[in-house]
Each structure stands twice: as structure tokens, then as C-alpha cells.
């Protein structure tokens, strides 16, 4: 059991979901994969299917359209799976608070393991959050 979790901390595969973000967080997420930050050093891969993912990385406030889909994606993910809310909107709705088409922050829909505030968070903050999140897995 311990070996499995150890391996999980060494190869977190990330599935990226945009639930209504302004695309700024998404650009920063792509930044993490570029040569300057190179998250593959830590074993991070961006995967195309939620079935392959260990981390569900959510950006943006959850809109009415996206809420059921976010919930279903969380249910489809093979466990153990972590949810990370990236950006101010995902953690607390930000400027979209009380908007007519916004259901709420991510933790209103699915349980969240790590919050990364910032508009957008810096790539360093993203990597630091990842390392801290994996540090809690023991």
C-alpha cells in the first residue's frame, strides 16, 4: 500500500478542466509545462482522458452548465484522485460572485484537496501547490 502511494506522488497525471474560466489560469497551467518550469521533472503529464488522471485541475467559477459535468467527471475519475482548484475564481468565485449563471466555487460541487489563489496564480505557485499536495499523501 505504501509503495502505491509513493508511486502516486512520483507520477501525478493531470487532467485539466475549465469550468468557465477567462483562460488566464489555463495559460499559466500551460506555462508550467514549458521548458522554463518543466513539470515533467516531477512526473507531471497532462492527459487527455479523465480515466488516466490522478489530479483533476479545475479552473474558473463553476457555471450552471459546467456543474453537472464537473460532478460527473469527478465520479468518472479512478480513485485515488485529487481535486485542485486553481485560481481565485475556482477557490471563491472571485469577481463572478453572485453572478446569475454561477453555481459557486468548486468545493460546493466536489471535495477539493488543494486551493491555489491568484488571478492568475504564478507557475511557481502551481508547482508549489502540487508539491505541498503530494506532501500530504502519506
Amino acid at each position: 500500500m505504501k509503495l502505491k502511494l509513493k508511486a502516486l506522488t512520483k507520477s501525478p497525471w493531470v487532467f485539466h478542466l475549465n469550468t468557465g474560466a477567462c483562460n488566464n489560469c489555463d495559460i499559466e497551467i500551460l506555462n508550467v509545462l514549458t521548458p522554463k518550469f518543466d513539470a515533467e521533472r516531477l512526473g507531471v503529464l497532462l492527459v487527455g482522458s479523465i480515466r488516466h488522471a490522478d489530479v483533476l485541475l479545475v479552473t474558473g467559477p463553476v457555471t450552471r452548465q459546467a456543474a453537472p459535468r464537473l460532478k460527473r467527471l469527478y465520479e468518472q475519475a479512478p480513485k485515488p484522485c485529487f481535486v485542485v482548484a486553481c485560481g481565485t475564481c475556482a477557490t471563491s468565485c472571485g469577481i463572478f460572485k453572485d453572478a446569475y449563471n454561477v453555481v459557486g466555487p468548486v468545493d460546493k460541487i466536489v471535495p477539493v484537496n488543494a486551493y491555489i489563489p491568484g488571478c492568475p496564480p504564478k507557475p511557481e505557485a502551481l508547482i508549489s501547490a502540487l508539491v505541498k499536495l503530494l506532501g500530504t499523501v502519506k
Binding site: 509503495l3 502505491k4 502511494l5 508511486a7 502516486l8 512520483k10 507520477s11 497525471w13 521548458p35 518543466d38 515533467e40 521533472r41 512526473g43 492527459v47 487527455g48 482522458s49 480515466r51 488516466h52 490522478d54 468518472q76 479512478p78 480513485k79 485515488p80
Partner: protein, 309 residues
């Protein structure tokens, strides 16, 4: 009996091929990272990925046939293990060869692709079935020139026993020492790239387009089996080409074995370079490429071999 089990499970078979395969696919990832000016993952990265996937949950989608969804990963991994065992037993002791083992190997090398088609079609996902249909077309495309290219060493060495091929090439010079041999070898390299479904022929999985295609519904150990098969193929296919076209790994002396490893590394570098310098083709472009240019060149190689060039 016990010896065969040992061959299959431990030394030239599963364990050996899996460990070396995961290591060489790390080399692939690392070199790709360096080409893109990144640092790249540490050497144990693929082992960590594999162990992690073994520990994850396996989800079988609703409405799928359980049997057809679970068997393909096992089928592909056992087929590629069998190929590796055959090749290495032959490389270590060419006298163990039996009549037509080349044909057996060619058949077994097709099994992983067939398994991907079966698993993709069984998983009941539109993107997966699209990936499966593309994989099937790609198989139709590359099998013809691949077999045509393999006919050249058969003509040159006048045998379909792999052991005889090694011995012939040790005595009378390697197949790629001739014009027809070189041309057939180039054709086989292109087909190998498609067999490995690496760029420019990663049409079936196309991460950015159909979200890893046939593998999309696979998770946990089943996905780990598919990933391991891919890693093992990256080891086994170049070894097969080295055996058939380039005289194998040599016996006995340290230097001949080192030369054999060097041959393998050259092929690996070629694969990685092709992968990193090409864009993905469309399926119709790939089909036109394989059935047009590549088949034509392979036929030319056969004609050259028949007239003795």
C-alpha cells in the same frame, strides 16, 4: 518445461523485456525533453508510472462487454512477451530455431495492434471507436510494405528460420550490406515507427485530437498493461530489425555484444529523431504514403534482391 517457463517469465521474456523496455522508453522521454530544451523526467519515472497505475481503480464502463474490455491488454502483453522470448532465445542460441519462426514473429507482432482495435471497439466510447478504426486502417497500411521489406532478407539468406538468418549473416555479411538490403531496411524503419504508433503515425491515439483514442476508457492496471506493451515494443521491434537485417547481436565475445547494443541504440536514436521532427499525418495521408511510396520502394527492393543487387 520448467526451463521454458523460466525463459518466458524471467530472462529473455517478461521481466527482462519489461525492465529494459521501461528504461528505453525513459531514454525516449528524456531525449524528447532535451530536444525541447527541457530537463525531462528521472530514470525511474516509467517504473513509478507503472506501479502507480497498478494501484489505481479499474473502471469498466457501463454497457461494455467485460470480457472484450479486459482481455486485450493481457493479449497484447503476452504476445509481445512471446516475441521477445523467441527473438532472444534465437539470438543467444541460433540452433534453437524452428521452420517458419519468422512468420510466427510477424504474426505475433501484429497482435498488440489487434488488441488495441478490440479494446477500443469494446469500450463503447465514440472517440475510442474512432481510434480503433484508425488503428485498423493503419495496420492495413503498414503491414503490406513491412512484409514486402521482410521478403528481401528471406531472398538474401534463402531461409525463413531466424537462426539460419543470423548464421548466414555472420558468415556472408549482413543483409544491409547490399543495395536492396539498405532500401528494405529503410522501409522497415518507417513501418516500425507506425507499428510503435509514434509521431508521425500516432494517428490512432492523437492526444490533442481524439484524447488518446482506444485507450480513453482504460484506467488502472489495464492501462498499465497497454503502457507496458508500448514500452516493450520499443525494445523488441528494433531488436527484430537488428536480427533480420543487421546480423543480430553476435555471440561470445564482449565486443560483438557491445556492437549489437550499439546497433540497437542507433535504431532507437533514429526512432526518437523521427518522432521529434515530424508533425502528425492524417489517416488518409498515411495510407497513401504506405500503399503508394513505401510499397513501391519495397517492391523495388525485392526486384533488386531477385537480380542479386
Amino acid at each position: 518445461m520448467l526451463k521454458s517457463v523460466f525463459y518466458f517469465v524471467i530472462f529473455p521474456g517478461f521481466l527482462f523485456t519489461a525492465v529494459v523496455g521501461l528504461l528505453v522508453s525513459w531514454i525516449d522521454r528524456k531525449v524528447t525533453a532535451r530536444v525541447q530544451w527541457r530537463v525531462g523526467p528521472p530514470w525511474w519515472q516509467n517504473f513509478a508510472d507503472f506501479v502507480k497505475l497498478l494501484g489505481k481503480e479499474t473502471i469498466i464502463p457501463q454497457g461494455t462487454s467485460r470480457f472484450h474490455f479486459i482481455t486485450p491488454p493481457l493479449l497484447s502483453i503476452s504476445a509481445i512477451t512471446l516475441v521477445s522470448t523467441l527473438l532472444w532465445v534465437m539470438l543467444i542460441n541460433p540452433h534453437k530455431s524452428f521452420l517458419g519462426d519468422l512468420i510466427v514473429v510477424v504474426y505475433l507482432l501484429m497482435m498488440p495492434a489487434m488488441a488495441v482495435v478490440m479494446g477500443g471497439a469494446a469500450s463503447g466510447n465514440p472517440l475510442a471507436s474512432m481510434g480503433a478504426s484508425r488503428e485498423m486502417k493503419l495496420v492495413l497500411g503498414y503491414e503490406l510494405p513491412f512484409v514486402l521489406a521482410l521478403i528481401v532478407p528471406i531472398i538474401k539468406t534463402d531461409t525463413i528460420r531466424l537462426g539460419e538468418m543470423i548464421r548466414f549473416q555472420a558468415e556472408d555479411g549482413v543483409v544491409i550490406g547490399s543495395w536492396s538490403g539498405i532500401i528494405a531496411f529503410l522501409v522497415a524503419i518507417v513501418c516500425m515507427q507506425a507499428k510503435l504508433t509514434l509521431v508521425p503515425f500516432d494517428i490512432p491515439e492523437a492526444e490533442t485530437e481524439i484524447m488518446s483514442g482506444p485507450y480513453i476508457e482504460y484506467s488502472g492496471p489495464a492501462l498499465a498493461m497497454f503502457k507496458l506493451t508500448r514500452a516493450m515494443m520499443l525494445f523488441v521491434l528494433p531488436v527484430f530489425l537488428v536480427l533480420v537485417f543487421w546480423g543480430g547481436f553476435g555471440q561470445g565475445s564482449f565486443w560483438s555484444v557491445l556492437l549489437g547494443i550499439l546497433k540497437y541504440v542507433v535504431l532507437l536514436v533514429v526512432i526518437v529523431l523521427i518522432r521529434n521532427t515530424n508533425p502528425r499525418l492524417r489517416i488518409d495521408q498515411a495510407m497513401r504514403f504506405f500503399w503508394g511510396l513505401v510499397t513501391g520502394v519495397a517492391t523495388l527492393a525485392i526486384i533488386l534482391a531477385l537480380i542479386g543487387a
